[in-house]
Each structure stands twice: as C-alpha cells, then as structure tokens.
C-alpha cells in the first residue's frame, strides 16, 4: 500500500538528484560500523570455535603414574596406539617427564612397524612410508629432548640404537650401541645386538650368521 493519498501525487525522484550531504553521510557511517561489528562478530566466533576445538582435542589430565602404568600395559599387549595415547595424556600434564617421553618415543617407533589385521589381511598401522618416516623423526626428536635435560655423559644411545636397528641402518645402530656400552650399559640386549651386527657385517653368509645369533 502506498502511503501517499489519492489526491497528492508524489513527485518521482530524479535519477541524478543532488545528494543531501549531512544525514546520508551519517547513515553510511552507521552501515560501515554495522558491517565492521558483523565482521568482528564472525572473526570472534571463528576464534572461539577454534579455541573450543583445541580444548576438545586436548587430552583430559591424568596422573603421571596412571598414564605410565596404563601405557606400559598397552605396550605389553602390543597396542602401540593406545600406549601412545596414554603417554601423550601423561605428558600433557607432565611435559618434562623423561619416563613418559622415553616410553612415548619407543611406542612411536613401534607403531612404525606394527601391522594389524583388517578384514583378515595384515595391514600396517601407518598407511604410508611418509607417515612412518615422520613418526620415526618425532621419536628421534624426543630422544634429543630427553638427552638435553639429562646430566652430561648420560644419554639414551641404546634406545636410539634400537630405532636405527629396526629401520635397517646397522652401522648407525652399532655406533649408538657402542656408546651405550661406553656409558655403562651392560645389558645382554646391547651385547647381543653388537655381536649380531658385527657377525652380519663380517661373514660372507648372512643367513648363517643370523642362525648363529639366534642360537645364542
């Protein structure tokens, strides 16, 4: 319905009518303010959602001992994914705990080679070599982080050696096994690993050497 009465015919505005400066400028300014407020609202909303999502991702705090115990139980079951989750939860509350770090590092490297059955077919837990490589690098970085916090002369060469060993770099492993012995590692695992690598490197029949180590 038109507001104009039937007798007073309104004059149609000219397309190029001169603009009235005062009130129009005021109206435009208000629109811009509204737009700005709307944009700020959108940005604030997005940031809020992101923070909430971050909080959602952050693991629930857990006591160190609980995380360690549950993680080690998972390791014993061969469930590296669950072990990793427990160690990460523990580290969320105790980020500098070396035991949690060492165990997380080991769980990560184990995960690189873990296979699980899918529809009856053994499949790697990590789908691609790139994922496995990245996880191994995280494991190595963790060792470095832990070693940086330890007194001089004490390190984790045995753990690192095992990582290199599983990845098929025998001499890199050997170097760290020897370093482990030098700082007092007298474990049989360390001795056997050194013997195995030396024999495989020396003899001309690798398979025979393997059998020989296996009998030890």
């Amino acid at each position: 319905m038109s507001r104009q009465g039937p007798t007073t015919r309104a004059k149609s505005p000219r397309a190029n009518a001169p603009r009235k400066p005062g009130p129009r400028r005021h109206k435009a300014g208000r629109s811009w303010l509204l737009a700005l407020a709307l944009v700020l609202l959108v940005v604030a909303g997005a940031v809020g959602l992101r923070i909430r999502a971050e909080q959602g991702r952050r693991p629930e705090p857990v006591a160190r001992d609980v995380a360690l115990k549950r993680g080690l139980l998972a390791v014993a079951r061969g469930d590296d994914l669950e072990a990793e989750a427990w160690f990460r939860r523990g580290l969320a509350s105790f980020p500098r705990d070396p035991l949690l770090q060492i165990n997380l590092s080991t769980a990560l490297n184990n995960k690189c080679f873990r296979v699980h059955p899918r529809r009856g077919v053994p499949m790697p837990v990590l789908a691609t070599s790139l994922e496995r490589f990245r996880v191994a690098q995280e494991s190595l970085r963790l060792y470095r982080t832990i070693e940086a916090g330890l007194p001089r002369g004490i390190g984790l060469p045995h753990d690192r050696a095992q990582l290199f060993d599983t990845w098929g770099m025998p001499l890199d492993a050997m170097e760290d096994y020897l370093r482990a012995q030098a700082i007092g590692d007298t474990t049989r695992a360390c001795r056997d690993a050194i013997a195995r690598i030396s024999m495989l490197q020396s003899v001309t029949d690798g398979s025979a050497a393997l059998r020989s180590v296996g009998r030890e």
């Binding site: 629109s31 737009a35 789908a127 691609t128 790139l130 490589f133 170097e175 690798g206």
Partner: protein, 738 residues
C-alpha cells in the same frame, strides 16, 4: 545495509579464493582446449598380460578406482557391482578407451535380451587442485529393438556393494578398520557403517527402490549388501540410465555430493577429455610409427602425470594408483627422470623434493626400512633433474642436503673399512624386504650410492677440478675401485658376472643397474656384456626376466639391460625387449610390475605400475635419442619397420637432453630416401638399422654437410637443417631388422 552485505560478500569471496585459487605456483596451468570429439579405441588383448583391468584416476585426486576383470569396481575399500534383474553379475565384452591414452573406459554387457552400456572415468576439470576423486560409472540400458515381446522380463538393473572378497581386492592403507558392515540405502545414497560410499543420479531410479536384503549389521566383507534396484521401466523401449558415483576410500558424509553431480555424463566426459588432452599436450613429444608402442608410451605418460595426488596443498607421486599407493625412493627416482624426459620439469622438481623429504638427521635418505639404495637413488634423481631441466635453483636449495647424504655414505664406507672383512669399504649389509629376498651385502645398493656420489660431484663442481670437492672426488674414485674389485672377486667366487650380493642367495635386482643407469661399468665393458648374456640365458622366459617364483615375469626389470644393449648397438636385443614389454601390456597400454600365466590375479600386484611407465618411457626415448659424452645418438634403437614408407613419421619435439632440447622428424619420402628435419643442440651420430645401407646424405637447404661414418651411420653437426638420406637400392628391398 547494502554496503555491509557487500563487505560480507567480499569477505566470503576472498576466503573462497584463498582456499581454491587454482594450481599453486610452479604447477603449469593447462591451456584451454577446444575440440571435444571423442574417439574410442580398443587395444589388443594380450593373454600374457593377464585379465583386462582398467584404472580410473585423475591428476590431483587422492583416490583411484579399478574396473576389475570381473566387471566390478573396487577402490581399495569397497566394491560396487552391477547385476541384471536376476541378480547375475553383468559380464562385459571387450573394453574400449578414449584414444590418446586417457584412463577413460567403456564396455557393454548383454543379459536376458537386454544390452547395458557402461562408461567409467574420474571426472576432472584440469589442473591438480585438491580433490578426493569420485569415479563416475554411467550405465545405460539400451532400448530393446524389434517387435515388443510381452513374455520377456521387465528390464532392470541392480547394484550392490561389498567390502572385500575374492582376488584383485587389495586393501588401501586408509580403508575403514571395520571387519563387518551394515549397508543402508537412503534415497539415492548408499551408505556403509554410516558413511556414504555411492550416490546415484539418473532419471529412472524410484526413491526407496531397494531390496530388503542384507540390511542387518554384521555383513562380512565377502558378502554383498545395500542392494538397489532400478524402478521398473514403464516401457521396455525406453532408455534407463544410472549414474553411479563411487565415493573415495573410507566414504564421505551423507550430505556430501560428488562435484559435477548435476552435469550430464556427456558434459563431464567432454570436460574430462579436454582436460586430459591439454595435460598430455604439455612438454616433449615422442611419436613412433608403431601403433602398439605408441599406445604403451601414451598410457605411460598418462600414468606418470596422472597419478600425482594433491593433499594438504602438497603434490605427491604415489608408486601406483592401487596397492602401492605409497612413496618409495626406488620407484620415485625413476619417475623423476621420466617426468624430465617428458618435458615436465615442474612435476619432476616436486618429485625430487618429495624424495628429499625422506632425509634423516644423519644424512641418509631412506623411505623403507633396510633399502639403503635410497640415498644414492635420491641423489641420482636430483642430478638427472639438474642436467635435463637445468634447474639451478633446486640444486642450490638441495645441494647441502645432498652433500650431507654423501657424508653418510662416506661414513658407512669408512666404518666398514675399519671393520674389515669381505665387505670392507662398501655399504653395510641390509635387508630391504623386497625382490632381493635376502639380508645381505647388496652390491646394487653400492652401485646406486656411487652413482649418487658422482652425481653430487657433477652438481657441486660442474667444471671439475675444484679443490673444494677434492675430498669427495677422492672418496668416489676409491669407492669405484673398491666396488669393482668386490664385483670381480665375487664374480670369480660365485661363477657369474656382476652378482647381486656378496652372500650367495640374493635375487638379481640392483646389480642389473650397474651399467645403466649407474654407469659403474661401461655398456661395452666385458662385465656388462657377460651379465647381459648370463641374465638372458638364465632368467628370461617369454622375453621377460623371471627372477622369483617360476613363471612369474617382471615387466620392467630388464629395461636397464636393454638400455645397456642399446649403448652397445645391439639393436636386435633392444627391439626384442621392447616388443616383449609391449606384448605384456593391457589393452589400454598400461604396463605391469609382474605377471604370471598360472595365477591370473597379478599376484595382488594390479596394473598399472609407474616404474614400468617410467622405464618404458626412458627406453623409447633412448631408442630415438640418447647422450653419448658431448654428442647425441639418434635412432639407435628403432626397427626398420618404423622407417617404411607407409608409416607415419618419427617425431621428437622439445625433448630434453643433457646437451639441450632436441627436435627432429624422420620420414620416408620415397623408396630410396628418408628426409630428416632436425634441430640439434650438439653434434649427433645417426644410426640406421643394419638392413638399410647408406648411399649418401645431402643437406637440402644448403646447411652443414653430414659425414658418413659407416654403411649405416653418419654424423650431423650441431644446429638446424634438413637432410635427405639416400639408401642403396639393393638393400632397401631387404627385410626387417629382426
């Protein structure tokens, strides 16, 4: 308010542009294609290559689908199968492909008096933006012809899904972890365990027209579920069309719809063909007159450029579209060289960067455990790219990493030297868990390591003689001498040339690369010749090597021996190898890794394979042109049949070489003459098949003269010219070179 709406609109548009602004810098943009006339061709079916399988993929897509020999579609996670009205699986006739080597296929099936036509491809718009990769299967039930038959069953089409099953069903590493399944049909969507795996569009599907069969949870992977049926056609003469979109591995949410769902199949097909034509038109041209070899060459090119996947903004090159959807230095290095040979340096550059992502803090480059040849392969690939593409900026960026990698190799050599024993001065033992099949000191790994070190030397010191690289040079010289010494010692001890390992029992593998491409021994060296003779006598069956189980043939392993034979001018052997390779390909030209007549399931190693594609491309290119020192050799591996008058010309354009791009066309102009148009970056030796004897070579445009070097060869100077090659009449009626 209008302004604020405008601001919001701009904001949204800007955000949208940020996310999908086309291919990132460095990725070539496809030029606009024009014509879309589509020609379908059927390739020869070689029983030696196993049952026919068609790969559906597209550049940038993160998934592929295999149209399996039994007619079903499998993506590594779930299968979509098509049935007729009586629940019999549709059996398809010979497949046809869009001419040009594109992964677009079609076939028809006859059932109970009805004919179903199916086309299958992955719709693609061009460029390689992030995409999940939905495949589109269009099934058309053709109207019945002839007088109406009231007794005939109502034509109908059924569809069902399953999550595994018989042979060919490799599992993708990203597939759902479930072991049992529940399939639900809702409207046009088929879901499995809550994720949509297929979406159907088309005119003749009635909502809810699914069969209540296997709808309960707990369906095992081998059983079909989620049955959907077409609505009964009101009129048997009408056309029924179903467009089945196969979702990516793992499925998508129920709300997701395939991109381009509202377009017709014809539009999507035309757009996809245009995109593929543009993609294949990039880079170098290699055209050979043999239709079968050209088909394999095009399929190889399509695979090499087409399996690239973009995810999270990064472009990657998986080892194959299917079971090897993973990243391997062994395959990746060959792909780098092939991409460069195809004149796609922007892709090769990314592929090299991908290889160096596998570098460890110690400098070693290792993608799979125990594959110690990876370091040398990555270094070799970088140098190939540097030499073929002249990519100085990448060399500058990666040279420190490359030097660190040589540092790791040298540390290994020093350590084994200190340790002593038969493998002193070489890489340590390794267990690659691959075709070598043994934990041993694998001499092929040393060959690659040395090739990599020498490649780094060429990049670090292009002029040679810089004191800064003295130490690396000395290490390489010492390494070469030691490796040859061990190769010779073991050859004497094991009674065979260039053995694969110090310990007996390893399968031949990396040792076949000692001459080409590693250049540890010259192709004309007695060791390389002896290996060639030994390998062909002992391992070759049906023209291909069989190194593993009896009757299992490897389709690409012999290419390095063929390359060495080419460099010895043993043309007959090269052509036999080339023909065997072609004979063991799929109808679309796709090559395999392994094939066996006894087990026609490819032993779970489905075609196509990128290493085959890369090495076949390299061999055909070498047959046409390869580098020898500071000059080129042309036509060293072409058969006389390619030079017959009825054939199309041989054409090479924009082909990168270490000496610069080369271009030539060779055509038989009459019974006694060939015409060669060439632009050469360096002097070239042209070698004709022995059955053609030269009468003379004259420059047609007053350009530089050619010099005859033998009855079958002549040299050309660097530069551009047109030459008429006259042949002696007595020989030109002679037979083929084989």
């Amino acid at each position: 308010m209008k302004q604020s709406a405008l601001v919001l609109l701009m904001l949204v548009a800007a955000l949208g542009l940020c996310r999908c602004a086309g291919p990132p810098a460095g990725v070539a943009r496809a030029p606009a294609a024009t014509a879309t006339a589509i020609a379908w061709v059927g390739g020869p079916v070689h029983p030696e290559a196993g049952p026919v399988l068609s790969a559906l993929y597209a550049p940038g897509a993160q998934n592929s689908v295999a149209w399996l020999p039994d007619g079903t579609f499998w993506n590594g996670d779930f299968e979509i199968a098509l049935f007729d009205g009586s629940d019999s699986l549709l059996r398809f006739g010979p497949r046809e492909y869009v001419s040009g080597g594109f992964p677009i296929a079609r076939a028809s099936a006859a059932s109970r008096g009805d004919r179903f036509e199916v086309s299958a491809f992955m719709p693609w718009r061009g460029a390689d933006v992030d995409s999940l990769g939905w495949a589109l299967i269009t099934v058309t039930l053709q109207p019945r012809t002839g007088p109406p038959d009231r007794t005939a069953a109502t034509p109908s089409l059924r569809l069902a899904a399953r999550s595994g099953g018989a042979r060919w069903h490799f599992l993708d590493g990203r597939c759902s972890a479930d072991d049992t399944f529940r399939y639900v049909v809702k409207g046009r969507s088929l879901s499995r365990n809550g994720r949509q795996i297929a979406y159907i569009s088309g005119a003749n599907i009635a909502p809810g027209a699914h069969r209540l069969k296997n709808t309960q949870p707990g369906i095992p992977s081998t059983s079909y579920g989620g049955w959907m049926a077409s609505a009964p056609a009101r009129n048997p003469e009408s056309v029924l069309e179903w467009r089945i979109w196969i979702a990516p591995v793992g499925g998508v949410t129920g709300r997701d719809r395939p991109p381009g769902e509202s377009s017709s199949t014809l539009d999507l097909l035309a757009r996809t063909v245009r995109a593929w034509r543009s993609e294949m038109a990039f880079g170098a041209t290699y055209e050979v007159p043999d239709a079968n070899a050209q088909r394999v060459l095009l399929a190889a090119r399509s695979l090499l450029v087409g399996t690239r996947a973009r995810g999270g903004g990064r472009l990657r090159f998986p080892g194959s579209p299917f079971q090897y959807r993973d990243y391997f230095l062994r395959d990746g290095a060959r792909v780098v060289r092939a991409l460069d040979l195809l004149g796609r340096p922007e892709l090769a550059r990314t592929a090299v960067e991908n290889l160096f992502e596998f570098q460890w803090p110690s400098g070693v480059i290792l993608s799979q455990r125990g594959q110690l040849d990876g370091t040398g392969q990555a270094l070799w690939a970088l140098e190939q790219h540097a030499a073929l593409a002249g990519d100085a900026s990448l060399v500058r960026a990666l040279l420190p990493a490359a030097l660190a990698a040589t540092g790791w190799i040298r540390l290994q050599l020093r350590t084994t030297s200190a340790h002593g024993g038969p493998a002193a001065g070489l890489l340590p033992y390794s267990d690659p868990r691959d075709n070598e099949n043994l934990r041993a000191h694998l001499l092929g790994s040393d060959a690659w390591a040395l090739a990599g070190m020498e490649g780094v030397l060429r990049m670090a010191d292009p002029g040679g003689g810089s004191p800064a690289t003295d130490s690396l040079r000395a290490a390489a010289v010492e390494y070469r001498a030691r490796l040859l010494e061990v190769f010779d010692r073991e050859a004497n001890r094991q009674g065979r040339p260039l053995p694969p390992s110090i310990e007996p029992g390893a399968r031949d593998w990396g040792n076949w690369s000692a001459s080409y491409p590693c250049e540890i021994v010259e192709a004309t060296d007695t060791r390389a010749i002896a290996l060639d003779r030994f390998a062909r006598r002992r391992f070759y069956r049906d023209g291909l090597p069989s190194i593993g189980a009896e009757g299992v043939l490897n389709c690409y392993l012999g290419f390095d021996l063929a390359q060495a034979a080419l460099r010895r001018n043993e043309r007959a052997a090269v052509l036999a190898d080339l023909n065997s390779a072609v004979r063991h390909t799929q109808p679309d030209g796709s090559g395999l890794e392994i094939v066996t007549r006894e087990q026609p399931d490819y032993l779970g190693d489905l075609p196509p394979h990128t290493t085959f594609a890369a090495m076949f491309t390299d061999l055909v290119r070498s047959a046409l042109v390869y580098e020898r020192g500071d000059s080129l050799v042309l036509l060293g591996g072409v058969p006389v049949s390619w030079l017959e008058r009825t054939r199309t010309p041989i054409r090479v354009a924009g082909a990168p070489t270490r000496l610069g791009p080369v271009e030539f066309t060779l055509e038989r102009v009459d019974e006694g003459a060939l015409e060669l148009h060439a632009t050469l970056p360096a002097p070239a030796l042209v070698l004709l098949p022995n059955s053609l004897v030269l009468a003379g070579v004259t420059s047609r445009d007053g350009g530089p003269a050619a010099s005859l070097t033998s009855p079958h060869g002549f040299t050309l100077p660097r530069g551009k010219g047109v030459w008429t090659i006259r042949l002696l009449p007595a020989v030109r009626t002679g037979g083929r070179s084989r």
